[in-house]
């Protein structure tokens, strides 16, 4: 799958936080699939995503949102416009 399947706003945020190029942000990308996405980076990514879309995730769900597609699905469930 390619980065084209990730909405560009989400792709750009994650690229900034993870310090990678937007093209590398594919739906399967997640914690542990690249070195940069460790637990602290995960927290940063979640906070950045929350800020961008003005949503708040349930803290107990945060550790489970381990891939781009899971984050995307959670955003949609929260009613965010991607």
């Amino acid at each position: 799958m390619s980065s084209q399947q990730v909405p560009s706003s989400l792709r750009d945020i994650l690229a900034d936080v993870l310090e990678i190029s937007p093209e590398e942000v594919t739906p399967e990308l997640g914690v542990g699939t690249i070195d940069n996405w460790d637990s602290f980076r995960h927290l940063q990514a979640i906070l950045a995503v929350e800020g961008e879309y003005s949503v708040q995730f349930d803290p107990s769900r945060i550790p489970e949102l381990t891939t781009v597609s899971l984050i995307q699905a959670e955003l949609i469930a929260k009613g965010a416009t991607l």
């Binding site: 936080v17 927290l43 940063q44 800020g51 803290p59």
Partner: protein, 649 residues
């Protein structure tokens, strides 16, 4: 959407500047990006860009690079990109290392800890109330809290021990963060405010005492986090969800403010504050244009909008009272300005005396500021320039980039103080007596320098200074000052003999002895006791043992007056010959020709070959030294008395 296009464009250009290793452009563009966007992603973009050009930031912009260790008991990692970015915007590059959550005490106490091994330049100590005084919330719950005081005392003592222990093994600068007053407690706002031992009151007290401890540790600042939280809004400061889930002490909306506060707080540990504020007059110090509206027409005083300007004037006055020098840089007629300060004195928060200098002319302001820098012997990087005219502001930015420029908001004069206080350039963690006295010192220096350039020749200049020399006994200088002068004066010191207090007293009390000090003042200020001479008359010869003058006053004829004074006393004591002695040192070359310049003849016969002393003599009956006519002399009479006593003995 427009905003998004601008963002993307700025980001592209920042990337280009970074890959071209153009640090200045990258930082300036980043400043613009962050002015239009507060998106966390943009901050992270800036942080990783800056990290990539850290060396270039240091080499091109002179950014101060600091090995920074973060001692913490809370989650700080998501805030680090904000800290990196804020630091670079203030011209610091932080190479950061973060300690463990639970190991903060060990890090500070153990000389083998990761902190000690890191050898930091700067240490942040960021602890939560839980860790500093974890029992307080329970002890304060009833608001009566018998044990609250004791708990605060113990907590402060524990922190003090941590800080002292760390300080004993490291000279790193320390920032210690205070606690935030909890926003929601079971007592509720009324109880918190009214009960003596509410948690709110306890945390206020705790913070004050922690700050007091920090004052006793060298190179340590207290970071008043509660103040920052209050300003930003307590309601949005924390995010209980993230604190409870991840020990993140702040809401993500507060990261930027927090990082900015940290940087501003530690900065005075590394940088001296700017020293001079140059203010424009029309539409800056007062409302309106003096040349058009006349002194009665300008806006200042207790009525709006004049009170906006009065507030600004008072703010300047406050800066001045802690040693920030004020100067007027204005295109105006000097006479008009003086008239305005006179006529509107009751409506102004400042008088002309509050300004160290005035540059009121039709010259370029950049030229005026350059002149001022020279007169005050201060670098341009010590200057702040405040002006409402965007053209003048831009001219200074371009011609004198070291000068910090604040554009006064003409349409919103009430905002000027806010703009000024948002800038860190006058921040200081300590203020000394010397700072507070700085105005007088520099005023005198600036006026002398101005006079030196305007006066036609040297004599005229010196005469215009209206120098008064007062001679007094070295014992009344007082004696401690005399001994200090002997001990510290190097340049204009003919023999550099470091006499003790007892030896000075011996000169004063022995028959034919002289121990004379000279105090100097001029129309600009009092320099205090700045010169000293010791001599002894035996038979027909008066030998000068010591003669010295502080280098601050050399070149104004005071040394000649001191010599003449010695000569007069010697004649009264029966001397016909004055003998001077010079012992060369590495530093006293400036006075090597002192005796020859005053008509003395080198005495080859009496040169003592076992020492470096060179002797000179002068016939007092034909060539007694005379004091320069531009000096006014005082205090000869007391020495007449002592000379009389000598004759009597």
């Amino acid at each position: 959407m427009q905003n998004d296009i601008e963002r993307q464009d700025l980001r592209r250009r920042i990337k280009e500047a970074a890959s071209a290793q153009d640090a200045r452009t990258a930082v300036n563009l980043a400043r613009r990006l962050l002015a239009v966007s507060s998106k966390p992603a943009d901050i992270m973009f800036c942080a990783s860009t800056f990290t990539g050009i850290a060396d270039t930031l240091t080499s091109q912009l002179g950014a101060k690079r600091l090995k920074t260790y973060i001692v913490r008991s809370v989650t700080i990692e998501p805030i680090l990109p904000f800290l990196t970015t804020e630091a670079v915007l203030s011209n610091y590059v932080l190479d950061m290392s973060v300690g463990g959550y639970g190991s903060y005490a060990d890090e500070l106490l153990n000389p083998q800890s990761a902190l000690a091994k890191f050898k930091p330049d700067l240490v942040f100590i960021l602890l939560d109330l839980e860790d500093i005084a974890g029992r307080l919330p329970a002890l304060c719950a009833d608001g009566i809290g018998d044990a609250v005081e004791a708990e605060i005392g113990e907590s402060v003592a524990r922190v003090e021990q941590l800080l002292r222990s760390f300080r004993s093994g490291s000279s790193a600068r320390i920032l210690f963060q205070g606690c935030v007053v909890p926003d929601q407690t079971s007592l509720g706002d009324v109880g918190e405010a009214n009960l003596p031992h509410s948690l709110t009151n306890a945390v206020y007290q705790l913070n004050q005492r922690l700050a007091a401890v920090c004052r006793t540790i060298s190179d340590c600042v207290f970071f008043d986090l509660d103040h920052l939280a209050a300003r930003h809004g307590r309601a949005n400061w924390r995010d209980a969800r993230m604190f409870l889930a991840s020990r993140l002490p702040l809401s993500s909306a507060s990261f930027g403010i927090y990082a900015g506060g940290l940087v501003r707080s530690f900065s005075p540990l590394f940088r001296a504050p700017r020293k001079v504020l140059c203010t424009d007059l029309d539409n800056t110090l007062w409302g309106g244009v003096l040349g058009e509206e006349g002194p009665e027409g300008i806006a200042t005083g207790s009525v709006f909008p004049g009170n906006c300007y009065l507030e600004y004037q008072r703010y300047l006055k406050q800066l001045s009272s802690r040693g920030i020098l004020l100067a007027i840089v204005s295109k105006n007629n000097d006479a008009d300005v003086r008239e305005a300060f006179q006529i509107r004195a009751a409506d102004l928060g400042l008088t002309l005396d509050d300004f160290v200098a005035r540059k009121i002319s039709w010259n370029e302001k950049a030229a005026s500021i350059r002149e001022l820098a020279e007169e005050l012997s201060l670098g341009l990087d010590s200057f702040v320039f405040v002006d409402d005219n965007p053209v003048e502001c831009e001219a200074i930015r371009q011609q004198l980039p070291e000068v910090a420029v604040v554009a006064a908001p003409v349409e919103e004069p009430w905002k000027l103080i806010e703009l000024l206080s948002a800038q860190p350039f006058f921040d200081a963690a300590v203020v000394t007596d010397d700072d507070a006295n700085r105005l007088n010192e520099y005023k005198a220096q600036a006026q002398r320098a101005a006079l030196a350039t305007s006066a036609g020749n040297r004599d005229e200049f010196l005469a215009s200074l209206e120098i008064v020399c007062t001679f007094l006994s070295a014992l009344d200088a007082p004696l401690t000052r005399s001994v200090q002068l002997l001990a510290k004066t190097n340049q204009f010191n003919l023999t550099t003999r470091r006499h003790s207090a007892a030896e000075v007293e011996a000169f004063d009390s022995s028959p034919g002895g002289q121990a004379v000090a000279v105090r100097v003042r001029d129309r600009f200020g009092d320099a205090g006791v700045v010169g000293l001479a010791l001599a002894r008359t035996e038979g027909n010869t008066c030998s000068i043992d010591s003669l010295l003058l502080s280098c601050r006053v050399i070149g104004r004829g005071i040394e000649t007056a001191l010599l003449a004074h010695l000569g007069e006393n010697a004649v009264r004591a029966g001397a016909t010959r004055l003998v001077g002695e010079f012992i060369p040192t590495k530093k006293n070359a400036p006075c090597a020709d002192f005796y020859v310049d005053h008509g003395f003849v080198k005495d080859a016969t009496s040169t003592d070959t076992s020492t470096d002393s060179i002797f000179y003599q002068l016939d007092l009956t034909t060539a007694a030294p005379e004091s320069p006519r531009w000096l006014t002399l005082e205090g000869n009479e007391s020495n007449e008395f002592s000379a009389g006593a000598v004759v009597a003995s």
